[in-house]
Symmetry: C2
Subunit: 146 residues, 2 copies
Amino acid sequence: MTYAKDMPVDTALASELRTTVMRLARRLRNQRTDDSLSLSQIAALGTLVRHGPLTPSELAAHERVQPPSMTRLLAKLEAAGLVTRTDHPTDGRQVLVAVSQQGLDMIKADRKRRDAWLAQRLRDLTPEDREVLHRAAEVLGRLAEQ
Amino acid sequence: MTYAKDMPVDTALASELRTTVMRLARRLRNQRTDDSLSLSQIAALGTLVRHGPLTPSELAAHERVQPPSMTRLLAKLEAAGLVTRTDHPTDGRQVLVAVSQQGLDMIKADRKRRDAWLAQRLRDLTPEDREVLHRAAEVLGRLAEQ
DNA sequence: TATTGTTATACTCTATAACTATA
DNA sequence: TATAGTTATAGAGTATAACAATA
């Protein structure tokens, strides 16, 4: 690739990275062939797996949706048996939402399916390219966390 | 990072890459502070910029939406003065949609705004990290194109 | 008869506003 | 009075089915 002479190097790299990351993300997202759950539902379930039980409000804040939207989303997840609700031990207003074993199984199956597509393409790369990606994954992770 | 002993290396790398790429993509997507256009509209406009004038059907296929959805989306873009329609020279059924100068300006401004956030974070990295990302961007681009 | 594009209609997801129960 | 959660209602986005115009 080439840099325009008058362009700061960071901007050119940012532009290139943004394009490729977004494009790859789109490909990865489209790998979802099983349409039983929406992306929002998968995301919420994944957050519960990572963080452990949360209240609906906390989950809504994590997913950047409004509480009423999370109410509806959780109703569907609960109807599908993927999450369970338990009353908060001391505060009667609050509810704790946790992933059920069935929900955990579904998330794992979903991740496995997504990884399969990417893993096949990684096998077609040279070992050098894989090494670059391995090192880049750590740096990208730090970027995303900020 | 660590690899499970019984896990093929490609699967572990795929899992790690998928997580970080999706997370970073989410961050980049959320950078859109100006809510004048939806993501679908921005995407369609961007495709027109990259590919040049297309028919509504071609554009729908590119964006993986059904033709009626593209009809509605284009109606909004046209109302906003961001695209223009011209009759196909030889086939009276077809229409060619092209980006207007105003649409081009909007796409450029949008990209600039998105790049700014990422460029600032890249400046905080070490030169070595940036070099890794520079090399990885090329590899990721190949992955996404497949 | 097949193809391109549009219109009619319905469903999903998300939002704001109003309401209920509890602190 | 404030907070957690839900219900009521509306808007955006996309889908399928039916229709009009042209090849």
